[in-house]
């Protein structure tokens, strides 16, 4: 009986220890590959995921360490910006001159749509009859055509 009690206590202690150890180990919230596709290797001028330079290796090790420590993607990006500046971010910032990377394509698209709409309107107007005149059905052959038709019919004696 006493042995069973001691065994129960040991199992309980072991379970608590295992649970607390699990709780102390941070769970990764992101991955190296996810971060690497969104940040640059500042020396190479390419995405970190494509870079293999010594600087890129150090940067990847830095990211892996933060991932293992359970830091979020935003926290890791902030840490990289603190080390290398905003140039380390692959996506342009939403402020300053970088804002043009988002605004210029939108403006260009809107201008293109407006130009296309104006072009279509102008093209359709060019096909319309002048203002005030309705489109009338054709009025039959001219007098000259009628005479020629009569002559042809007479010649073939139909």
């Amino acid at each position: 009986m006493a042995l069973a009690v001691w065994l129960g206590v040991a199992v309980a202690l072991f379970s608590v220890g295992a649970l607390s150890a699990q709780a102390a180990t941070p769970r990764p919230q992101t991955s190296l590959s996810e971060i690497s596709s969104e940040v640059m290797c500042p020396v190479c001028g390419t995405l970190l995921e494509l870079a293999e330079s010594p600087q890129a290796q150090r940067e990847k090790a830095f990211v892996s360490k933060l991932v293992a420590a359970g830091r979020s993607k935003d926290e890791i990006k902030d840490a990289l910006v603190a080390e290398y500046g905003t140039e380390v971010l692959a996506l342009p910032q939403g402020s300053g001159f970088d804002l043009s990377a988002y605004v210029v394509p939108v403006i260009a698209f809107v201008l293109a749509v407006i130009a296309l709409a104006l072009g279509v309107l102008r093209w359709r107007r060019a096909g319309d009859p002048p203002d005030g005149e309705e489109e009338r059905p054709p009025e039959g052959p001219s007098a000259e055509d009628s005479e020629r038709l009569d002559a042809d019919l007479a010649r073939y004696d139909l």
């Binding site: 010594p54 600087q55 150090r58 603190a82 080390e83 290398y84 500046g85 001159f97």
Partner: protein, 175 residues
Amino acid sequence: MSTRAAIAVLAVLAVIGLLAFGLLNKGSSRVAVGEVAPAAPLPRLAGGRRGSLADYRGRWVLVNIWASWCGPCREEAPALEQFQRHHGSPSFTVLGIDSRDLSGDGRAFVKSYGLSYPQLRDGNGDTAHDFGTTGVPENYLIDPEGKVKLVVVGPVDPEYLDDQVAPLLPGDGQS
């Protein structure tokens, strides 16, 4: 000029302007001998204070732009430290600029080589860009007026430092 033509010209000028801005923003040329060296303030590698090459105006400064991930930087570090120990004085110092490097790695590098000269941190590489560097290491000897006196692309060795740099420094009787 019709309105349509004016809009087209403006659009072309805007595109050219954007391209020119991009090119000017990216390109840089190396500072030449006789030019004033860039002296933007930078954080110190150890500690939160800021420093600048301008703080050393009136002294000769050998600016060493380096990074901990760079092999040749490891090769030249002992020679620079030895030169600093022999020639460091109120009229001369080596000044390290750790560029595009992780600050922890940079500090570990300084500790590992026992570098005693001051170190600034150029995390985003702006100062290296202003100097017009194409890589690391690069070395620039700056005179007391802040002008570039010597440019060395690549690592320096004890012979170069003794033969080319030392004779220019005060106390060697040639300056």
